[in-house]
């Protein structure tokens, strides 16, 4: 699966190393030079972002395998290597990470101790990049676990009142999942060695192409992996850390948590669940789809009842994550593409939402919806931006969330119609809770302090502008992304087909005529991108 070595083999290591080196530089600057940290952190994260965008331009969209791959032995006697690579599935998550971090740094300033704050953010960026690029099971685990440390300190040191408990809960929940995953990945490598012979290896591609693991063992290991990722996503019964972490985290922490770190879970499900254990993924599909749909409905219902604006956005994330898992575990090309689209676009819209909520909190020092009212009168620009972002998050056609959710639902309809039907209600509920919250906070009379709220400054608008542009552009031209991810997604589905006996039959049996249609159009991206807007309008509006 690894494509020919590209000339730019420095690119992926640079994406990881630049933030880490930047964190080291920040640590070396004396703490009293408090004016240096922000520009320096910005320089580091922005240059990583530029590298990520450069990666996007150099990416060969016709190639299905891993590009820019590099490999270097790390712990040789156990077959652990520093293998990095990017394909159409991880590409946009890498770019998203590159774009979101500088925006998060620009969008919020810490109240105290700028030096460790920016240093931890840089560490977090490096570790997130590493997790998306790693193609070695142990290396992935290292980064997956490493992101906990900076986030723990970001929540615990710069968060709100209940921050200590939230930080600890966040750390332990994820670590509980990783504990099982660690045993699972060791078992994967050991059983692979026993089944295939040769030396111990943790190389993802090598194991996936010829696992040599018995069905029962593979299912058991898959459960260990899926549990770890389900906590990270989070899927519904395991989501209770998320609202606390989001509510207590500082604004930049919430933005990154929602935009990047939750995606580690869904990305993990795709890369280390579906790709590594296709048979187990097919086997577990009913459970995961049920949890996904449960998450969509439950997240939406609970969000409706929230009184805290930030907590509301946090629960809306639970619902959106449900769409991603729904799309991924439809195990169709369309569904997985939809899942990846939602991953990226949820990062953009929810990142913007958290920034906006942070701006409201800065002005009013409360996030209670009952305390806010009529902000539209005192802050019209803020209200306008908020409208756009809320509508995008609701899934209005023409804005960025719509294509992803539509494709995820299409995928679900193709394989598991009942789940798809229930999931659609989530779209309507999203409109309910978000628009209702908007209405309560921005409409009505501007009472008390709400009347004197300062409007958005140009600088604040500047921070959000790139996200707003992305919201519109990716809404109108989803093909920009779909074209680049399609070869990889198709290869992944073909991989599942090849490894699981009779998998393709189950899919077509479910669907009947629709499947043949989508087969016929081939490029699912263009077909749905234009055709979908008319049909989706009813549910979105």
């Amino acid at each position: 699966m690894i494509a020919a070595q590209s000339s730019a083999s420095w690119l992926l290591p640079a994406l990881i190393l630049v933030p880490f080196v930047g964190a080291g530089l920040l640590a070396l600057v004396p703490a009293r030079r408090s004016d240096v940290f922000r520009p320096l952190a910005l320089l580091v994260t922005a240059s990583t972002g530029v590298l990520a965008v450069y990666l996007l331009t150099q990416f060969d969209s016709a190639e299905a395998g891993f590009q820019f791959a590099v490999s270097q032995p790390w712990i040789d006697d156990l077959g652990i290597s520093l293998t990095l690579g990017v394909d159409g599935i991880s590409l946009f998550l890498v770019v998203l990470t590159g774009v979101i971090f500088p925006i998060a740094i620009l969008g919020a300033t810490p109240h105290h101790d700028p030096k460790p704050y920016y240093a931890w953010l840089c560490v977090l960026m490096g570790a997130s990049m590493g997790a998306f690029l790693a193609l070695d099971l142990v290396l992935f685990f290292v980064f997956f676990e490493l992101v906990l440390v900076p986030m723990y300190f970001l929540i615990g040191l710069w968060g709100y009142a209940e921050r200590t408990a939230a930080a600890t809960k966040f750390f332990l929940y994820t670590m509980f999942g990783s504990a099982l995953m660690l045993v699972g990945l060791v078992a994967t490598a050991v059983l692979h060695q026993r089944g295939v012979g040769g030396r111990l290896t943790f190389d993802l591609v090598e194991i996936a192409s010829d696992p040599g693991i018995s069905q029962n063992a593979a299912r058991l290991i898959f459960v260990a992996f899926a549990l770890a990722f389900a906590i990270k996503v989070p899927l519904v019964p395991l989501h209770t850390w998320l609202p606390d972490a989001h509510t207590q985290a500082p604004t930049a922490g919430s933005v990154i948590l929602a935009a990047v770190m939750l995606k580690l879970g869904t990305y993990g499900l795709l890369r280390f669940g579906v790709y590594l254990f296709p048979e187990a993924a097919v086997w577990s599909r009913p459970v995961l789809l049920t949890l996904a749909v449960l998450g969509i409905v439950y997240g939406a219902v609970v969000a409706t009842m929230q009184t805290d604006l930030k907590r509301l956005v946090a629960y809306s994330s639970v619902a959106h994550m449900g769409f991603i898992v729904l799309g991924v575990f439809s195990l169709t090309v369309v569904g997985i593409e939809g899942g990846i689209l939602v991953m990226v676009n949820h990062g953009i819209t929810t990142g913007a939402l958290f920034l906006l909520v942070g701006m409201i909190y800065e002005r009013r020092h409360t996030r209670e919806i009952s305390q806010l009212s009529g902000l539209q009168r005192s802050a019209p620009v803020l209200a306008a931006v908020m409208t756009l972002v809320v509508l995008a998050s609701v899934g209005l056609p023409g804005l960025n969330s719509f294509p992803g959710e539509l494709l995820a639902l299409l995928g679900a309809f193709e394989t598991s119609r009942a789940w798809g039907v229930v999931a659609v209600t989530g779209v309507i509920l999203a409109a309910l809770y978000l628009l209702w919250a908007y209405q309560r906070t921005f409409h009505g009379p501007a009472t008390g302090e709400n009347a004197t709220v300062r409007d958005m400054r140009p600088a604040e608008f500047g921070v959000l502008a790139p996200l707003l542009v992305l919201i519109v552009v990716l809404g109108l031209f989803p093909g920009l992304m779909i074209d680049r991810m399609e070869p990889s997604v198709k290869a992944l589905v073909a991989h599942v087909d090849e490894q699981v006996d009779g998998f393709s039959e189950t899919r077509y049996e479910f669907v009947g005529p629709q499947a043949r249609e989508s087969e016929g159009t081939g490029g699912a991206g263009e077909g749905t991108g234009t055709g979908g807007q008319g049909t989706g309008g009813e549910s979105g509006g």
Binding site: W74, V142, T168, M175, L180, V183
Partner: protein
Amino acid sequence: MSAVTVLAATLQDVLVDAADGLSTPSIDWAGIAPNLILMLGGVLLLTVVSVLKRRLPVWFPAVWTISAAVAAACAVVPLWQRFTDSGPESLMAGAVGLDGFSLFATVEVCIAVVFAALLLSDYLRRESLDAPEWYVLVLLSASGAVTMASANDLIVLFVGLEILSVAVYVLTAMHRRRISSQEAGLKYFVLGAFSSAFLLYGIALTYGATGSTNLADIQGFLSREVVTQNALLLGGLVLMLVGFGFKVAAVPFHSWAPDVYQGAPTPITGYMAGAVKVGAFAALLRVFVVALGPSYRQEWQPVVAALAVLTLVVGAFGAISQTNVKRMLAYSSINHAGFILLGVLAASTQGTRAALFYLLAYTFMAAGSFAVVSVVARTGEHRQSLEDYRGLASLRPGLALTFAVLLLSQAGVPLTVGFLAKFYVVTAAVESGFDWVAVIAMLTAVVSAFMYLRIVATMYFGEAPEGVTAPRIPPATTLAIGLAVVGVIVLGVAPGPVSDLANDAVAQLVVAAP
């Protein structure tokens, strides 16, 4: 009956040999050089200091001890060369084994001695307890630990254990103004003597069953003969396990550990967590995995699995309910012992090597952590509770950061040595088919992570109370903490060279040349 016959026959052989005139074995002085350096270092230090009592500077014993430990570690290098060139050997009529395993363990003990000397020098000055005896006892006990790790004979092993233990009993009780130190010393001594008796009785039964105390002979005997009535051997095996269990603080033989760890002078606690564990685990690995492993693995593995699970669970859950940081770390050392038992349980070269690596990692983590505890506790060791760490990050940012790194390493966070140590033992356990024990182990790691995070959160997220001054960090302690943190990170990021060495550090038993 058969065992009694064997016993009688052996006794007869011995008597006949004695009648022929005792032939003394040839002594390979170079082969036991590291051990000699440590032991002579201790004895010479005592002599020199008593002769030149008033004319020596205060730093002299500490520098002497560190030099002795470094010299012993350097003496390992030519032996390592000799072992890689010509393979493992058995010295002194089969009493001492010279192999990668014993050499690797020797270096670990030396590292623990260096840390102990660095920390003691500041500690003794602060507590006004300056006396060279501390260092003498540390060197002698180190020699005992090395003897245990390289013992090829159960009697030699027992002698090593006693040299190690007696010195450490005294060290534990050496803080003469702290009542808890004396209490800990007495407790450790009584229970330790008890466990030595168990071990000795186990050795006797094993001798009765196999006709030898030599590990190579025992291994050979068990592979040649089929023992039809193995009650004697099983009894010996269990009693030896009890004895080792006491020494490594495996549950249910752990009850002394929290009290002793808490009561002992803090540098000695760190030393116990390093050197004593290395010696005891090395002996356990040598006897159970190497001598009894090939033919008796099936018999002892279930017992060790139960011990490991109990140790992991009790260590983790015991730790989270504590409010005294030193006691928390004592319980966490029980949890770590459970992880090392996973390596023993695997009963493979992978497992042995993973256990050795874990011991090395834990030596660094324990030395650094207890050094911080010692600094924060201040004179008289009164401030050990979690409350005393509140807001440490604002008072002493560097100290708090290093402690956080050491604690996160103990929790098993990647890019620290703690993660790789856990990774190695888990890999070894899974390879030997003990995946369920590995799962339990990792889950207990999450439980103990809660405890480590509690300390980190108190240091970082709490406000320092009014009027508390920052603790003073003396230079040698600074050096020790620095070395520990550098070790934890370097070994965590680039374990390659060390894990390659550990790869060769497999214990092998060689029958002594007649």
